[in-house]
Symmetry: C2
Subunit: 449 residues, 2 copies
Amino acid sequence: MNFGFVDKNNMALLTDLYELTMAQVYFDEGMNGRATFDFFARKLKKRSYLVSAGLEPLLYYLEHLRFTPKDIDFLHKTGKFGDDFLEYLKSFRFSGDLYAVDEGEFLFENEPFIRLEAPLIEAQIVETFLINTMQISILVATKAMRCHSVAKGSRLVDFGLRRAHGTDAGMKAARSAFIGGFIGTSNVLAAEAFGIPAFGTMAHSFILAHDTESAAFEHFAKRYPDNAILLVDTFDTIEGVKHAVETMKRMNMATFKGVRLDSGDIESLSKEARSILDGAGYTDAMIFVSGGLNEYRIKELLAKGAPIDGWGVGTELVVSADIPYLDCAYKLVEYDGEPKMKFSPEKVTLPGRKQIFRRYGSDGTLEEDIVALHDEEVEGTPLLRPYISQGSVVARLPSLDEIRRKALENFQKLPQRLRDIEAKASLRPTLSPKLRRLTEELGGGAIPL
Amino acid sequence: MNFGFVDKNNMALLTDLYELTMAQVYFDEGMNGRATFDFFARKLKKRSYLVSAGLEPLLYYLEHLRFTPKDIDFLHKTGKFGDDFLEYLKSFRFSGDLYAVDEGEFLFENEPFIRLEAPLIEAQIVETFLINTMQISILVATKAMRCHSVAKGSRLVDFGLRRAHGTDAGMKAARSAFIGGFIGTSNVLAAEAFGIPAFGTMAHSFILAHDTESAAFEHFAKRYPDNAILLVDTFDTIEGVKHAVETMKRMNMATFKGVRLDSGDIESLSKEARSILDGAGYTDAMIFVSGGLNEYRIKELLAKGAPIDGWGVGTELVVSADIPYLDCAYKLVEYDGEPKMKFSPEKVTLPGRKQIFRRYGSDGTLEEDIVALHDEEVEGTPLLRPYISQGSVVARLPSLDEIRRKALENFQKLPQRLRDIEAKASLRPTLSPKLRRLTEELGGGAIPL
């Protein structure tokens, strides 16, 4: 019996076979010159921006990447690798440089989140894990920020662990949701590992296990007098709210934290619940809503005046349901000093080692991004900065709180048209003169982006 | 710096906070009677069946679940738990029973994949992890089987690791894809952990790192003479095929495994590629296709006569892109001998300890499923069988090969209308007389399913 956990001791094998067979051939041919790869998203669908996230787990991977004796043994048994190459893998370390955009930064189409420079074999082997780690982190941070952008200051909590795609997705979703403006998560391990505040209410099973709803409420409030958010929809939501109020009155509670609505016509139920709570003098009791939420639904309910104070956003957040994958890629853009470019239809890449320069207007609003060659002199703030040099992390890593604060500040710098969750277009970066020239030269004409 | 890995030593905390706070209250109140929970999917969208998968990792979890001293320490620090409850958690073991449908079995709406019976606290605490493990496994096994159902015997390989939602999703997707009829995966760790055959070709970066396409082909074929599938679309697909043929001729290769097309008009390119390969005498060389594939695209290309021998299905498989989550739930159906039922609108559950009985026609075709009370005498093959008894696995676990074979056999038993990937409806199980009566009694009337 085998769970198939991925951890520090086997993560080197969590890669596509072709990364290793290509590495074997590079090894055979002595092809291990310096290579530069960009990780970026092509056209954005249903998104007017992306929020960078996932960098810290990636840094961990790059610093700790080792092929263990068990890994080598398995690779040997496949019969696909030579002894000298396996010997090389035994002392394999990532020795390259990583330039990255800070977590919590906003990016747009064709802008690299990451520029990785390393000996070709190293740069190739890390590809699969890099994309695997970054994509889901970016997807959820972005989805979370979209929820935040319509929540008008109400509280957002990640309730998605159960519907996340496996254990690691549950961890990454909690971390990314926090970066994207959520105040916490239901995921206890994420709370422990990342220091994210943990929240929770109660389940329908808790109500059903008791003889009456009121008995369930009473038991919970007795243990958690300051933190009891009572689930009221197991039988009938409005009756449930009344039972909650009666129970809190009977128990003479100083605090009534709130109720959770999880089904039915949330607009009218929340209004009626508010009126019952207020009528009983519980004006501070929160109305917390869960069940099938996303940014569109939150916006709609608040626009209709639903008096909702907090949201448990689960499934659609953690799987990024309306767009569960990005059209993203990790592409060779320079090898051994030569800029490289791919020409496949609709998958053309921008060649060369690049930098993104961002320009702000006088009021601080993001005005323009210029993608340029890395050593070009361009006005603007460079976004890619060194995180790893010669295999070691060289940047001070901000705390998750700092990243989150930065993300929320960055959101405020977005022009209004990009903040709209219905926005049809992303910002398109400008190409610098030198990058344009290089792309045209290699591409033999027009730039088909 | 912290990756946030989940493994045997911290998986107990990978749960929603409310599971633990509810457990605390149950503990306070001495409520630890025997509880039965069902894990099932409600209405199926875009699916006419679901393929069961994910059971083996779940069994591992249930057998190995422990709260470590580090876990207890963290829970203590939250201030949310009493010392006596934390003491109880120190020796916590799952001591219950698990009835499950075999991996590789086909299920339909409102049919439980799992019936879990345990002391209430245990049954509650395992909820989050159970859903997290099962949902993604079922989603990918089902999506894979849909690809298999239209592939007409051509080879399907999981290429999705990089776009899976994190590390664990990449592992579960590889395992589930294999169950669903794929012949292997690109994921080396899944190959090692689960014994799944590993496959791979080469990347565009491999071509670009060489001065010419032909040099790249030659280097790869030299090392892997029997297994070189040459990627031909980096510059121009048809030119690429010609370069591949020339290179193999020049090298005088006994075997030419094939070419991979990853972009462009696959229908016409595959036909032209086939004709070039055949014209050069390489009638055995495979045409392998990747890039944006799903069951609809595979069906369409084969219907148009595209001569494609194999498929690398990635992103859309591993995120189950057209339906990235199931409307699934883990619900209390009996507590302390009393059947339980939830009444929330559109979320009504079937009460009681249940069994699924399947009936086949004389030609072996699946004809009817009856959901009944577990001890009801109903004609048909019972699908839920004991996997864990008193906390220990009691069933012989089939190998992954056996599960896969069983899944493919089960597919053959589906009526034709359910095999169609465009099928609009799933099979609806019949409720047995006793279950119907119990549901009506508790529900006070009609059964709103």
